[in-house]
Amino acid sequence: MGVARGWIGESLISCKMQSGVLDSVGNKLASDKSTLLAVLQLLRKYNLKNTEELLKREANLTDVGSTEEIPQTDSEVSSVLSAYKSEGDPEVYEGAYTELKRFVEGALDIYKHELGMILYPVFVHMYLELVYNGHEGQAIQLMERFGRDQEEYYQADLKRLSHVTKKDHMKGNELTDTFKSSEFIIRMSRDTLSILKRHLQEKKHSVVLNIIQEHLYFDMYEGVARNKQQIEATAGALVGEATRQDNKAKVYYGLPKEPDIQYLPVEEEDDAEGDGTDKPKKKKPKKDPLFSKKTKSDPNAPPVDRIPLPDLKDADKLEKVKALREASKRVTLGPETLPSICFYTLLNSAGVVTSAEVSEDSSLLAVGFADSFVKIWTLVPQKLRAMKSAEQLQDIDREADDVLVRMMDDRSAETSRILHGHNGPVYRVAFSPDRTLLLSCSEDTTVRLWSLQTWTCLVCYKGHIFPVWDVRFAPHGYYFATAGHDKTARLWATDQHQPLRILAGHFSDVDCIQFHPNSNYVATGSSDRTVRLWDCVTGNHVRLMTGHKAPVYSLCFSVEGRFLASAGADSRVLLWDLAHGHLLAELTGHKGPIHTLAFSRDGHILTSGSQDCSVKLWDFSRLAEEMVLEDVNVSHNPDIKNSDSYLLRSYGTKNSAVLHLHFTRRNVLLTVGIYEGS
C-alpha cells in the first residue's frame, strides 16, 4: 500500500483536502464505508485508475458498482470526508474538554494565552460532532456547561449554535456550514505549537486530536509568543485570524501622480488682450502656484495604467482646478483648531430613513428611505434644475462655454426632488464624482443609476439576487462597487450590464464597501467580523484584517491612502496599516454601533459618528507620526496604541443618531442624523 498511499496523499493534498483525513481513514479501517466510497469517487474523478484498484482491493470494496451510495457532487464528497463522523463515545467529550482546559491553564504564563485560543474552536467542533452524531442531550449539556466560559465576543455565535440541536438543523445553516467546511485559523509561535503537539502526543485523546487535526489550522510564526492584549486585539473573527499568506501580496497604497492640468485654456480675465490680434495667441500655461509644486512619484503608488480609468473631460479639469483653489483656502485642522460642525437633523424619520449622503463638493444631500424613495436636497442657494426638453435643446448654441448651464431649464428649479423606482428600502446612495449621476442600492436586489440632470432612472443593474447593503462610486468615476447579502461584493462599470469582478471570500454578508483613493483597491467589511482589501485588477483579496468583535459597518481610507479605518457594531474604531495589514490602533469610547467615519481633507483628524448620538474627533496626525517612527516589517507586529490620548473631543446631540459625516473642501464637518424623539 506504500506506493498507492503516496499517490493518494499527493493527489488529495492537491485537491484541497485536509491531509489529516487520510490518517483518520486509515485508522478507522473499513468501519466508515461511505468515507471510502467518497475517496473512490475522488480518485475516479482524477482518473487515478491504478490507485483506485488498489484501494478497492485493500478495503474490500470490490463489490462497489452501485452508484446510489457514492456521493456524486464535489461538495457532497468533501462533506462526507470532512464530516463529523466519529465513533467517539459521547460521554468522553466533556471529560476531554475539561482535560484540555486544565492543560491550558497549567501551562506557563507566556504560552497560556496563545494555547487558550484553541479552546473555543475545539468546543464548537465538539458540540457540532455531538449534534451530527445524534447525541442531542450530551450536546446541550456541553453547551450549558462550557458555553459561558468562552470569550464575550463569541457568545453571539454560540447562541446561534445552541439553536442547532439536531442533525437536520445543520443542513443549510450558514454558521454550521462555515465551521464544517472551513478551518479555524490560529497564529501560534513555534514554542507554543511544540508544547501543544507534545501534550497531544502524550495524552492520545482521540477526540480532541481528531478535531484539532481536521478543523484547526496553525499558522506558525517565529518569535515570542503573544501576550493577552495582542491576542485579544486580533481575535474575534468568525474563522480565526489571518495567516501570513493572506497578507503577503504587495499593495500599491499610494496615490498616482495627478494628471497634468496646467495646459488649460487661459481664463478670460487673464487673456493678454489688446495688441496684435494677428499675432498668434500663445497659450501660455498659467503658472498657477497651485500647480507649481511637482509631486515626486511615490514608489508605493500604482502605475497610472494599472487599471483603465476614464480620461478627464474639460469639465472635470475645471472642477479639479476649482477643488484645488478651495483646498488652498481651507482651514488646517489639528488638536488646537477643531473643525466647525454643522448638523443636519432629519425630523420624523426614525424607522423611515435608511441612509444619507452628501456629494463631494457639499452641494447636494441625498437620503434613502425605507419606503423605496430617494430624495435629494440642495444645500446651496443654487436649486436643482432639470434638463431642457429635446426641442429646446436644439436651439441652444453648442459651442458656448456655458453650454452645460444653458442646457438646464431655469423654470424647473426646485429645492428638492424625489426619485421613484425601487421596490424596497434603499440602503445606500452614492454620488458620482461629477455629480451628474446617483447610484442607489436596495433590498429589492437591484442597483439603480439615476441621472441628476433629467431626474430619471437610467439603468437598473441586476446581479445580486439578495439585498444589496452598500454601493460606492469610485473616486475617478466610471466604476462602482456593491456589497450584498450573498456574501459577495461586485465591481461594476456604468456601461456594463453585468459585474466586472466578483469578490468572493467572506463567510457572511458583506455589509460595507469602500474604494481606495487610487481606485485600484476596494475594502469590504462583513458580518464575519473581518475586513478584506481586494485588488480590482485581479479580484483576489490582498489583505485580511481581523480584530473586530462584531459586524463591520463603516470603512474609510486615509487621505494619502496608506491607512484604513474601520468601525462597526462593537463600538470601536480600528486603524490598519495597509502596507502589511497590521492593526495599528484601537479607538474606544463610543457606546453604540458606529455607522460612519470620515477623515478631514488634510488627513489630520478622524471623526466617527455613532448610534449613541455622539460624534467623536480623534487626533490622527499624531498617530500617523508615531507610526512612521516605528520600524515595521512583515513579521514584526507593532504595538497597538490605545485610545485615551487620541480622543480630541466628543460632541453629543440631543437624541439624534448620526448617520453620515462629510468634510467640505474647506474642512467644515457636515453631519446628518436622525432625530429619535422618545
Partner: protein, 254 residues
C-alpha cells in the same frame, strides 16, 4: 389594574423570542409573528393534504408534511449559495481582464436594451373611418412630457434619416416612401401595414419636402441613443404626392 389575558399561542411566540435572546420588541411584533405562523402552517398543511390525496391516503402523513415543507423551503426561503460555489464563479468571472474604456464623451451607459431610457409607450390615434391609422413612435427619450404630436412627425421623419437607414445614393435630396410592390393592392385602406425595414429613397427635391430636408435631429447627449426600434409607418399611394400625404397626416393628428 386589569391583567390582559394573553392567548396561549402568543405566549408561545413570546417564549420563542426570549429563547432567541430578543428582549425588546414592539407589542405588534407578536401579532405579526402569529399571523405569519398561522399562514405558513396553513400553507404547509394544505400542500400536505394535496400530496396525501395524490398518494391516495386518507390522512396526512409525516412524509407528506416533510415533502410540503421541503417544497416551500426550496421556493421561498432560499439562502445564499455556499462559499465554494461563489469562489468558483468568482474565479471564472475574474479571469477576464478589465475592459478598456472608450474615449468618447457623454454618459457611459450599457447598451440600450439594458437601459431604461427608451420610450415605454406609444400613441395610438383615434379611429377615424376614412383615414388611415398611423402609428408613431415618439422618441422623446426619457422625457415623457413632450407630447406635441405635430412635432413628432417632424421627429419621425427626421429621425428616420438620422437613424442610419440605408440611403440610395442615386437620388439625393428629398424623401419619399417607397411602396412595396404587391403588399398594398389587396389591402383595405383602413388597415395598417407594418413594414419592418423601410427603405428610404432620396429623390429630387420638391418644395414640400421642407420639413424633411432639414431633419431635426434629436439631441441625444443626455439620454443615449434614440432610435433602435423599428419604424412602423403607414405606406400609401406615392402618387398622391409627398406634400399632400404629410398634410393629411397633420390633419389627422390634430
Amino acid at each position: 389594574m386589569q391583567v390582559k389575558h394573553i392567548p396561549k399561542d402568543a405566549q408561545v411566540i413570546m417564549s420563542i423570542m426570549k429563547d432567541m435572546g430578543i428582549e425588546e420588541y414592539e407589542p405588534r411584533v407578536i401579532n405579526q409573528l402569529l399571523e405569519f405562523t398561522y399562514r405558513y402552517i396553513t400553507c404547509i398543511l394544505d400542500d400536505a393534504r394535496v400530496f396525501a390525496n395524490h398518494a391516495k391516503k386518507k390522512v396526512i402523513d409525516l412524509e407528506d408534511v416533510k415533502l410540503a415543507v421541503q417544497m416551500t423551503v426550496d421556493r421561498a426561503f432560499t439562502t445564499p449559495p455556499p462559499r465554494d460555489i461563489l469562489l468558483e464563479v468568482a474565479r471564472t468571472k475574474n479571469n477576464s481582464p478589465l475592459p478598456l474604456i472608450k474615449p468618447h464623451c457623454g454618459l457611459r451607459l450599457p447598451p440600450d436594451r439594458y437601459c431604461l431610457s427608451s420610450c415605454n409607450y406609444r400613441l395610438k390615434n383615434n379611429k377615424k373611418p376614412q383615414t388611415k391609422q398611423v402609428h408613431h413612435h415618439m422618441m422623446s427619450g426619457g422625457n415623457a412630457g413632450y407630447m406635441n404630436n405635430a412635432v413628432t412627425s417632424h421627429l419621425t421623419h427626421g429621425a428616420l434619416s438620422a437613424a442610419g437607414v440605408k440611403l440610395h445614393n442615386k437620388q439625393p435630396q428629398s424623401l419619399s416612401l417607397v411602396k412595396r410592390q404587391g403588399t398594398l393592392a389587396t389591402v383595405a385602406r383602413t388597415q395598417t401595414i407594418t413594414i419592418p425595414k423601410p427603405v428610404i429613397k432620396f429623390s429630387s427635391a420638391t418644395p414640400a419636402s421642407k420639413p424633411i430636408a432639414k431633419p431635426k435631429i434629436q439631441v441625444s447627449a443626455p439620454t443615449g441613443n434614440v432610435l433602435n426600434t423599428p419604424m412602423k409607418v403607414e405606406v400609401n399611394d406615392v402618387s398622391s404626392g409627398l406634400k399632400r400625404k404629410l398634410d393629411e397626416e397633420y390633419d389627422m393628428l390634430e
